[in-house]
Amino acid sequence: MRNVLIVEDHDDTRLWWENHISEAFPQAQGMGAATLSEAHVLLEKHDFSLALVDINLPDGSGIDLVREMSRTHPDIYCVISTIFDDDTHIFSALRAGAMGYLIKEQPLDRQIQQLKAVLDGEPPLAPGVARRILTHFSRQNEESESTEALTDREKSVLQLIAKGFSRPEVARLLGLTPSTVASYTKVIYQKLNISRRAEAVIEGVRLGLIDPY
């Protein structure tokens, strides 16, 4: 873990992360940006392994930044940080390419644990978000076969999480280990992002923005 980009307009929180990111990742160097434009400047000058992005920024949406980074800097591991845990924002962030999310209201040491879990391949997944992902993929299947579909096992995991079961419970019900369930979650996030990109390409071809040959 080299540099960590912290895009957060709230000064105290940004500074806290800058100072404490090394607690989670001893080798990491936290660099803060209060706006999207500052983040762009830092992205041009430095290489980052991880980006912690707030959704609401003074000059735009953190989700747009994540979408952009997943295209221009696919190696950066994006995690969204938000004050609101509503499914809509979180689902949009995951579709944009975020690989996990943190709820800011949690105690910061708890957030560090959660961030570690995200990076260890155990991203969070709330029932509402799982439901949205299921709906998204079922619609995708109806509309086109161009995007990567979910496997039956991934669907089972999502269905149980959507019913409110926790990861250990899902693991028990499906005869898996919790870490396997976590890895399914990670794959689902990736597929979600891939499907979004595939849609974008299809749309680009349709609009004549991308030459398919």
């Binding site: 845990d85 029932p127 409110g164 079961f165």
Partner: protein, 731 residues
Amino acid sequence: MNGGSERISGDPGAGITVSPYRILSIAALLGMVCVVLSTWVALHQPWLGVDLRLDEGQPGVVVEGVHEGSPADLILTPGDAIISIRSTSGFPYTFETADLVEDPDVFPTFREYNLFLERQEIVAGILREPVVELNLADGRKIRLQPAAARPWSSMPLESWLLNAMGVTIFLISAAVWSVRRRNTAVRMFLFSGVGLLITGTSLAIIVSKEIAFDPVLTWTLREIYHAGNNIFAVFGLGLLFHYPTFLGTFPFTRVVAVLVSSFALNEHFQWMDLPLHTTLVQPVLYFMIAVSVSALQWRRSEGRPVERAALKWFLLSCLGFIGFGIFIYFVPAVFMGRTMVPITVWLGSITLTYVGLALGILRYRLFDIDRWWFEFWLWFLAGVSVLLLDGILAFTIVSDPSIALVLALVMVGWFYFPARQWVWGRLYRRQENRLERHLPALLAGLVGALNVKDKAWIRALREVFLPLSHRNLEDRIEGPRLENHGEIMLVPTLDGTGKIELHFADRGSRLFSPRDVKLAKTLYDVARNTEDRLTVYNRGVDEERERIMRDLHDEVGGRLLSLVHSSKTPRVTLLARNALKALRDIIYSINPEEEVTIEEALAAWRYEYFQRCEDAGVVLHWESGTINSLQLLTSRQLVNLSRVLFEASTNAFVHALPNNIWVSWDGDDRKLVAIVRNDGRIPQQGSFIFGKGIRNMERRMGELGGWCSWEALPDEGVFEVRLSLPVADDY
């Protein structure tokens, strides 16, 4: 329904150059010409001025009535029996039973019919003399001077009825044809009506006979009357073959035409007598053919309930009334040699058939014609009724034509128009009332149900059209339209993503009509306009709400977050975190579009409870029970119930230190019940401290119209919190 071999355009005016109104006017004029001709012929016959009847056990014929001012007035009286009639220079003719027959068709053989004509010739010859002598049973000999013509007031009622029925049938058929001119079945319907106009007006002369007509006139009238009958037979049977379903390419109508022509030629040339009854066996035979064709139509409509319902009506009209007429008039004549009822009853049964078909148009859109057909009739009758009344008044009561016209106008104004308005109201008011009654509800539904607009829309459609059933389909349509000839009406959804399929209007009692489509379009336009305006309004509201949320998030949320992360005091941190939660609740609950199903809410609560229990080292036991998981909770209900549920868990963790927590759910379509139990320390009943948390729980549940209760159950070793929330499902 398939209106025969050609498909009918939905546009009643398609390809029409002459207006239906003009066609109906011409038809009325033609009908009137036929009636005038018929009446003129009937009036210009030698006339004594007596109504005669046969009397069992009495010789000759009996005087039933004497017309005032007639040659027989003051000379003959009712009850006089006339034995014979003679000219001053000729032999007396003694009356026979068969001389007064109303319908010359009652004679079963050509020989009997010819004998009847011979007798008629004798009597007609006597009546053409300047003076005739009547020999009465009481021995009197009376001399009378037959009048060359009779006044029209002396015409028997049967003649007027037959004329009226012939014209009515013709007008109904012409009115149907005037709006569906290209359709083969409808053309046949028109020709059948033409045939019955000829039948009715020629029969009107035949039944006006006093004692005898000239045999040439009798022969000619019978030929014309039969021609009308034959036209009716050919095209009536053809209609049954073509409608409601065209039964195939077999040249059925031509075959029937050949059969009918053969009978007609046989009658004309008197080649051979037919079994049972030379003339009257024909209608019975045609009726049997009609029943066979109807059976084929019935089989064709199998599995198509709407067609079958319409077919039932059509066949009831065609076969029911005509069958009754056949049974009551022809069957006794064929098998008993005499008729039981006047021939007016027979034509009356056919008139009922045509009236029945007209009512079928109203109910089942027979011939694919809609209710406006009646509208156009009502207008037409308004004009005709003035002319008719004017004529009647001018010829009867009022001598001054201008006064007659004024009186006619007054009477039509006072009687016809109120009656017309009543009929009009019966046809349309219900729909108009529905629109008036349901439009406010529709608009209120649209305004009130921001993200379930289509629910309000479907409810309005259901209430206005009372369909037997409806379903949602996915493909889009531009506007309301009919399918399966009115069995189905398709209406777009308001969100433009699909369509609603309504089946059978008025709880299945009728088909949907173009008028329903028009009404649905009006409703749809109103709903769409309202929704567009609401969308613009809501967009403004949303933008404002977003701005407030952003401000709350950035300003208040940010500061609270600073407080959470920077405070060294646990109490302040907890307060700031709670304040942040409260802020989030406020922001969620001011978004009315955030409705979730109970199923979604339960999943979120279970997930959250599990996290909390895991953090507190407590085992969670969760039971969803049997509840309507698809019911919706508003954002307010969701937030309040979430807070109360988590407050219950917090209280348990803080005060009771349990090992287990049980959350079970129950309820029905009207309420949602949660029972949260824990096996921690149980406070003594009545010793709970109603702190701020518990008061908040009560307040939040009260706000939603629900309640919460607490109970220690020492026997079971648990403490129970029970929450009850009213939920009303609109559908």
